[in-house]
Symmetry: C2
Subunit: 353 residues, 2 copies
């Protein structure tokens, strides 16, 4: 009797994933259940030749040049909100960070930290939303990881995405490249994402549902770059809102930004909600808005191109870069006064992204 004929074991087909109502610790254990989760839930959603190699990483062919590399973790609460969910947010947020480097987003990784007991259906909805957002943004999810923490040691789903994008143009987009005289363009109204989250979290009712602005900004940014406008800096307005984004860049570039309150669009219902809640829309998070810094003589052309895109149809020139008060952002109010826009200590709303 040779050794082969002694083989007794056989793979038992595991219970289909539909039978599991919730995520178990074993789904993160690297064994059969992890494989089943990958094969029956992740691969059908994200399947592509790179992911299907089932290797420890994805092998990507790149041309010589510059790539952008970024990461963000998403811990938003609640997981679902008007205008998006943690899945679409986790794709769009990282796509946007790549876009802000002037890069065409190409490849994403996804790292899931699931809490034991998470309804499997919630995970499925989130993954489906990631799939759609990735298709919409033209990116491929090429490598991933799933971990499960015990009940009470997480909060449903946390997602980290890292991304790689290709910088195609000769642009050099960086806070260090902002120049005195540059105009500051804002792509649209601010404050919707933060207020949408807050409304769901606190059960607030407004006349109409305030929708998050969550969106992939790569298309509008690439279309702006394609005009040949010399874009000096780009920044999306996430945690800390417009104010924090501008202050960060003012500090890094050691320049003074003067902005005009009257030029900053805020939806009426968002304005009302901010008044009730005691928030300043300047600091409220957005997930589909950005500022761009362009030379004065390119500003009008940049504005027209942004307005031609659905995600920029309310774009405005909101201010000018000066050199007299390095590191400061000042705002001329509607009634003519000027105040310093200071950075908050924390965020008005925790766990907004």
């Amino acid at each position: 009797m040779d050794s082969e004929s002694k083989i007794q074991g056989e793979f038992v087909c595991p219970v289909p994933i539909e039978r599991y109502a919730t995520v178990l610790l074993a789904h993160g254990g690297g064994g059969k259940l992890t494989h089943q989760l990958i094969e029956q839930l992740f691969l059908p959603a994200f399947g592509n030749s790179l992911l299907e190699e089932r290797h420890d990483g994805a092998i990507l062919n790149v041309d010589s040049g510059r790539i952008a590399f970024t990461t963000d973790s998403y811990i938003i609460h609640p997981l679902f909100f008007p205008g998006g969910d943690i899945g679409s947010l986790s794709i769009n947020g990282t796509v946007n960070d790549l876009a802000m480097c002037g890069a065409r987003p190409l490849y994403l990784s996804a790292g899931f930290i699931l809490e034991e007991g998470l309804p499997m259906d919630t995970l499925r909805r989130v993954v489906q939303s990631m799939k759609l957002a990735a298709e919409n943004a033209g990116v491929r999810l090429v490598t991933g990881d799933t971990k499960v923490v015990d009940r009470g040691k997480g909060d449903g789903i946390f997602i980290n995405t890292a991304g790689i994008g290709l910088i195609e143009s000769g642009c050099h987009i960086s806070p260090a490249n902002v120049r005195p005289g540059d105009r500051i363009l804002l792509s649209g109204d601010i404050g919707r994402h933060g207020i949408a989250i807050m409304a769901v979290r606190e059960g607030l009712e407004f006349e109409s549902t305030i929708m998050s602005d969550c969106a992939a900004l790569s298309d509008i940014v690439l279309s702006l770059l394609a005009t040949g406008v010399e874009v000096h800096c780009l920044r999306d307005l996430t945690r800390g809102g417009l104010a924090s984004a501008l202050i960060e860049i003012a500090e890094t570039s050691s320049l003074h930004f003067e902005i005009h309150e009257a030029e900053i669009p805020v939806q009426e219902d968002v304005k009302g909600a901010c008044e009730i809640l005691g928030f300043d829309p300047l600091y409220v998070a957005n997930e589909g808005r950005f500022v761009s810094f362009v030379p004065a003589n390119d500003a009008e052309r940049a504005l027209q191109r942004m307005r031609a895109h659905p995600l920029g149809n309310q774009a405005r020139i909101i201010g000018t870069v000066k050199s007299d008060n390095p590191g400061l952002v000042t705002m001329q109010s509607r009634i003519g006064g000027t105040r310093v826009v200071d950075m908050l200590s924390g965020e008005q709303l925790p766990r907004i992204c």
Copy 2:
């Protein structure tokens, strides 16, 4: 009075980070405290020209060719263990995934999910450990993100790292490239990481402290590739241990791996601990061990090169690739029987990495 002279605000120097005993929600809010955390804790540890750009992502120059891209989240409990901690693990784990693609690890991202109330000193120790591990592995941390979740919604620190590596040789390392006749080489003894964690977690005392094998494998792998040996596949033996790694590759390649129990080194104290705990060392996680698949006529040369490296001085040829039972891993026991090595449903030890 011009508008400039009306400016009243001034940046108040924030309290130095040493004064914060614990992490606050505001440290993840994107405001002053987040900036302080970055400037006073992360930048001094990881500072490099790419990170200091303070942009939404890092801009990397790449030469035309193949890059590897990978991600892993680390949720290990406890955070500190003999032989490592979540910081060194989060660097070495991702470095190893890149090494398993045959890539030279170059750039890492880091995404922190901190729990409100985490002692600041714990964070500092972890960051210091990441710094040392990154230096040791020759990788640069070039982009990052920090989020804070409310108390009871996380567990101290979770870290995601994604990594980019450059594939320098003409190698094609993939489960799909394993061939019948290939020899299977194991780089050293197995089971130490999992047992080290278990011992700390359960307060078990052994005669000597069992140390995790946590280490960066890039150097030994690159030295193996430099010999010109035609390496067909590499895999590190993390969650699920040696058994799960082999089964995954056997299934993906539709080949049969026959291994020999007598050739698989297990430290005596690890063996003893496994017996007491009812674990099979084949399934226990490692963080500094790997298998390689090489053609039979290259096997001896590969073995000698691995043995010449401190991380491979116990390397062995543990088995052979066959084609007769596609997708199966079988093991000849010390007493001559043969059994199928099956995949476990979950992991014997949750939260091992």
